[in-house]
Amino acid sequence: MLVKLRHSNRLVLILLLLGGGLVALLLLASAFGAVTIPLPDILKMALNKVAVFDFPFTWRAVDETIIFQIRLPRVVGGALVGAALATAGVLFQGLLRNPMADPYIIGTSAGAALGATIAMTLPINLAFLGFGLVPVAAFIGALATVILVYNLARVGGKTPIISMLLAGFVVSALLAAVMAFMISMSNRFDLNLHSVYSFLMGHISITSWGQIAIIAPLVIGGIIGARFFAFHLNAFSLGEEGAAYVGIEVERDKILILALGSLLTAAAVSISGLVGFVGLVVPHAVRLSLGPDHRFLLPASALAGAAFLVIADLLARTLLAPVEIPVGVITAIVGAPVFIYLLRHARREYAF
C-alpha cells in the first residue's frame, strides 16, 4: 500500500504516523514512575479532560493529580526539549553544510553552562515567570554567546561560515576555561558541584505547566519558523554562492536561521541543561531514512526528536528509580549505537 502512494504523500503519511505515535508515547510515558498508573485509566482521564467523554472515576484522585500536575508537564517538557534540539540540529547542519554540526556547535552549550554556573553561585533566589535564576541565566548565556561569536566572525559585512565555526570553537574554549576555574574554586564560590554536573549531563527540570506555557510557544514558534526556511536550507546545500544564484538573500537569511536555531537551543538548554546527541543523531537518522529535503526533514526531525527524548527521559527516571540517571547519559548510550547502525545500513548514506 505504501508503494502505491506518491512519494510526497508517503512522506505526509509518515509525518502523521510520527505525530500520532508521539501523542501515544506522551500518555504511555506518563504511566510510569514511582507508582504505575494503568494506561486505560490515563486514556480515560485524558479523554475526560478534553471534555468529549465522561468516563466514571475508577481511579484515585491522587492519580489524576500525579498524571496531570507532575508527570505530564515533565513528559511534555521532554518532548519540547527533544523537538527543539532536533530542529536546531537540522538548521545548523543545513546552514553550515556540515553533517557534524549540532545545536551546540557555535557556543550555545558553553555559554549556557557558564551562565547556569554563575547563577548557581549567586545567593539570590529570584523567580521569573515560574523559572528560577539558573534557567534564565542559561538562556541568556546561550544567546549572548551566539551573538558574540557571530560578531567576532563578521568580516567586511559578511559572516563566512568557516570563521563562525572557528570563532565558536575559540569562544567555547574560553568560556569552558572560565567554568573550569569556577568549578575548581567551588568552595570559594559556594558552588554546589552536584547541581553543576546535573546541568552539564542534562536533566529535564520542568515542574509545572506554567513553565511549559513559556517554553512551548518558543519551541513551537521556532519549529514553524524553521519550516518557513525549508527552501532556503535546501538552497544552502549548494553553498552560499549557489544559494544566492537561486534567489536567497544569503547574509540576511543566515542571521535569521542562526537566530532561530540559537533560540530553540537556548529554550531547550534552559529547562534541561546540556542534553547531547539528540541534535546530532535525530536529524541524521531522519535524513538517512526520508532523504535530505528540508520540507520533510524539519517536521519529521522535530517529531522524532520529541519522541526520542520522551523515551530517554522515561528510561532516565525509571531504570534505577528512585535514583535518576542524567538524561544526557541515556541519549548518548541509546543514540550512539543507533547512529552507527544507521550509518552502516542506510539506503541514502552520505556524500563525504
Binding site: 510526497s8 556540515n98 527552501f231 546545500s237 554562492e241 537561486v246 534567489g247 536567497i248 532523504g291 529535503d293
Partner: protein, 265 residues
C-alpha cells in the same frame, strides 16, 4: 531576452584592483565568451554580472535596472549561473537538485506546482539526462554532474545564462556536448549567454563575440577573428602559438608551438 550593460566598473578584493574600468554592452541574444589568462578577472566579472559581488565603482544594469537595486529573488528569476562545480554535502537525487532551480518561483510553505515540475522534467530532458533523475547527485560522474547543474540553471527559465568555466573539468566529449547545447539554446530561445572560457579553440568555435581580459582590463572585444590574433595571444598569454583558420568553419584555430628544443620527431 535581456541585455547587460557594464559601465566603468572597478572592483577589488581586499588586496589590489582586480577589474579596471570595464565597459561592456551585451545585447539580448548575444553569446559572449570571456577569455584571458588565469587571474585576469573572468570569474570576478561573472560574479559581478550575477550580482553576488558589487562593483566598487561604476554600475551594471540588467535590462536597464541597476543590479544592486534588484533583490536576489528577482535576479534569480531571469539570470542563472553555472559555476565550475558544486559540492552538495547531502544525498539529493539529480531531479531534486534540478528542482532547486525553481526556488526563486516558490512561496514558503507552498508545494511545487505542476508547472514547476514540468520545468524540472523538461530541463532534464533538454540536457539529455532524464534517465539520471533518480540517481544520487554525488554518485554521478563529473560530466553528468555538470549536466545536472546546467539543467538546474535551465529550470530557472533564465533569460541570461552566466557560465564560469563550465567545462573546465570535463573530457572532450562532455565539453562539446555542453557547448553544443548552450549554443542551441542561444539560437533557438534567444538565451543571452556570457561564459568564462579557458579553451580558446572551443571559445572561437562556439561564441560570436569574445572579450579578452588582461590584468583586469578589456584588451580586445570583437568577433573571434579580430580577437584571436597571433600577436595578441603572444602578448596577453606570453605563449607562442600559430593561428590558422579552422579547416571547416574558418574561425581562428590556435596551434600551440613547443619550444624548438622540445619538439619531438
Amino acid at each position: 531576452m535581456v541585455s547587460l550593460q557594464v559601465r566603468q566598473v572597478y572592483f577589488s578584493y581586499f588586496d589590489g584592483l582586480v577589474l579596471h574600468n570595464i565597459n561592456l554592452s551585451i545585447k539580448a541574444g548575444e553569446m559572449v565568451g570571456l577569455i584571458g589568462p588565469n587571474g585576469s578577472g573572468k570569474t570576478t566579472l561573472i560574479k559581478l554580472a550575477s550580482g553576488i559581488l558589487k562593483p566598487n565603482q561604476g554600475e551594471i544594469r540588467l535590462d536597464g535596472s541597476r543590479l544592486t537595486q534588484l533583490s536576489r529573488k528577482s535576479i534569480a528569476c531571469s539570470v542563472a549561473v553555472v559555476p565550475q562545480h558544486f559540492h552538495i554535502p547531502f544525498a539529493f537525487t539529480a531531479s531534486e537538485v534540478v528542482a532547486l532551480g525553481r526556488i526563486p518561483f516558490l512561496k514558503p510553505f507552498a508545494e511545487e506546482s505542476e508547472v514547476d515540475k514540468q520545468f524540472v522534467s523538461s530541463a532534464l530532458e533538454l540536457v539529455g539526462i532524464s534517465e539520471l533523475k533518480e540517481r544520487r547527485f554525488d554518485e554521478l560522474s563529473g560530466g553528468e554532474r555538470q549536466k545536472v547543474i546546467l539543467a538546474m540553471a535551465l529550470a530557472q527559465q533564465p533569460k541570461l545564462l552566466l557560465l564560469d568555466e563550465p567545462i573546465v573539468h570535463l573530457d572532450i566529449a562532455h565539453q562539446v556536448e555542453i557547448l553544443e547545447l548552450v549554443r542551441s539554446l542561444n539560437v533557438e530561445w534567444g538565451l543571452t549567454v556570457i561564459a568564462a572560457m579557458h579553451d580558446l579553440n572551443l571559445a572561437a568555435l562556439y561564441f560570436d563575440r569574445l572579450v579578452l581580459l588582461k590584468e583586469g582590463r578589456v584588451s580586445a572585444d570583437g568577433v573571434p577573428a579580430q580577437v584571436l590574433t597571433e600577436a595578441r595571444i603572444r602578448e596577453v598569454f606570453s605563449a607562442s602559438v600559430r593561428v590558422e583558420p579552422h579547416p571547416i568553419t574558418g574561425v581562428p584555430h590556435i596551434v600551440i608551438m613547443p619550444r624548438a628544443s622540445n619538439i619531438k620527431q
